[in-house]
């Protein structure tokens, strides 16, 4: 019953309530919106706050601890991305482009989900390892790079099969419409220099340099306002998710189940792996959340450019409309219970 209690108390946090309120507002066709500039600013703010905290803590704990969790997280994320592709292509019968796009959306991480996870833990009086911010920065592009690389290879293979008319030799050949595939290097540059990764890496470095004393004067903005800022952003997320509720029908039963089952599996594997690696109870939850979350802000920007054939309606609606609410409302408490249980098994401190 402990899990149900956790879910129930999580439902009554301001973050979840404002998210649900946003959905209701959209459903009754209220014109409630957070102004564009603010809803574009808030993810940058959240990432800056996460990065600063991460950097400060990495200075305290040293950089040595990061290597093993980082390597395991990247390996799991890539493995999961391949597994998603297999499930979607073979079992779900999605076309190749949709499969790659969805596989990487679910292999990548959601920065907003990560922020909600941090405040969920804070509400439970738990902390997590600060270096997970660095893992967030590395995982974000990893799944995209793998999926885009494989989509390009597959498209080139198809073009070769069709014969030399498919496209110029050397470069990756075109799709059915004859559009040239974007080069890997430009996709790589775009995902690594994109604003999300840029602000996250920048703030980690700055946090590492300034340390605890340097953070003191800006902590009002980057610490005390953090949860409040998420709450404001949740109104917008709720409104957008609410407007997309009707699209869920188009997503279909298979993808809807995928959007719930896959994060659950990935998240629980993540919690167990992190516990085995010696992360704290809260750290294991965040590690699981990194692997469970799907990207819905960064993904469209990268994927529309890299795999334009894939239907954005599918990957945005499933990631934002289904997986995000499921993760913050149900999966977070479930992973916390799993983490407490796993730490009990290995005899670690809860």
């Amino acid at each position: 019953m402990e899990i149900l209690d956790l879910i129930q108390s999580n439902l009554l946090t301001p973050i979840v309530l404002f998210f649900l309120f946003g959905i209701v507002a959209a459903r009754v066709k209220s014109d409630l919106r957070i102004p564009d500039a603010i809803s574009e600013f808030l993810p940058i703010y959240l990432l800056a706050a996460i990065g600063l905290h991460g950097g400060i803590e990495m200075r305290n704990t040293g950089l040595g601890q990061i290597a093993a969790p980082m390597a395991v997280a990247v390996a799991l994320s890539l493995l999961f991305t391949l597994n998603h592709y297999w499930i979607l292509r073979r079992l779900g019968r999605f076309n190749m482009y949709d499969s790659y796009a969805l596989a990487s959306t679910y292999g990548a991480v959601g920065a907003v989900t990560f922020s909600v996870g941090l405040s969920f833990l804070a509400g439970q009086g738990l902390e997590s390892e600060g270096y997970l911010a660095a893992v967030l920065a590395v995982l974000e592009p990893a799944a995209f790079i793998l999926a885009i690389f494989m989509a390009n290879m597959a498209a080139a293979r198809q073009a070769r099969k069709r014969g030399p008319a498919g496209g110029p030799a050397g470069g990756p050949a075109g799709g059915p419409a004859g559009a040239p595939r974007p080069r890997m290097a430009s996709v790589l540059r775009q995902s690594v220099t994109g604003k999300a990764i840029a602000v996250l890496l920048g703030s980690i470095v700055i946090g590492y340099i300034i340390g605890k004393e340097g953070f003191e004067p800006i902590s009002v903005v980057f610490d005390e306002m953090f949860v409040g800022a998420i709450v404001i952003f949740m109104i917008e997320m709720g409104v957008i998710a609410g407007r997309r509720l009707g699209d869920i029908r188009e997503v279909g039963v298979f993808l809807t189940s995928f959007a719930v089952a896959v994060p659950t599996l990935n998240g629980l594997v993540g919690v167990l792996a992190a516990t085995a690696l010696g992360l704290s109870t809260g750290g294991a939850v965040m590690f699981g959340l990194l692997l469970a979350s799907a990207s819905f802000i960064a993904a469209p920007a990268v994927l529309r450019h890299a795999i334009p054939e894939a239907r954005p309606g599918l990957y945005i609606t499933s990631a934002l409309g289904i997986t995000f609410p499921y993760n913050i409302i149900v999966l977070l408490p479930v992973m916390l219970a799993a983490s407490v249980w796993a730490h009990g098994l290995v005899g670690g401190t809860p």
Binding site: S39, R243, E309
Partner: protein, 100 residues
């Protein structure tokens, strides 16, 4: 005042196709263009409200007639299939034709 006839090419598209449109324009020697962020409704539903990447953009460029056909062909070949995009051309007059 004498006005010289040229063409105004307008592309209304999802904002994530804007850079591709601009690079096609520049690749064919178009030296100037204007972009706006816009909202509207079309084939792919109401666009322009929601996440950043779901906005629409409008790209306008004044071009000479001789480059127009190639431009329109390249845009339709590369972008029509995969992006929300509408393209139209109008006859306009400019005072300083040497700018275009």
């Amino acid at each position: 005042m004498k006005l010289y006839p040229v063409k105004l090419l307008t592309v209304t598209c999802e904002i994530l196709a804007r850079d591709a449109v601009i690079s096609i324009l520049e690749g064919r020697g178009v030296t100037g263009y204007t972009t706006y962020e816009v909202a509207g409704k079309g084939d792919r539903g109401v666009r322009g409200s929601g996440l950043e990447g779901e906005k629409n953009a409008k790209v306008e460029a004044v071009v000479r007639e001789e480059v127009l056909t190639g431009l329109v062909e390249e845009i339709s070949q590369k972008l029509f299939a995969d992006y929300a995009l509408v393209l139209y051309v109008a006859d306009v007059g400019v005072a300083r034709v040497e700018k275009f």
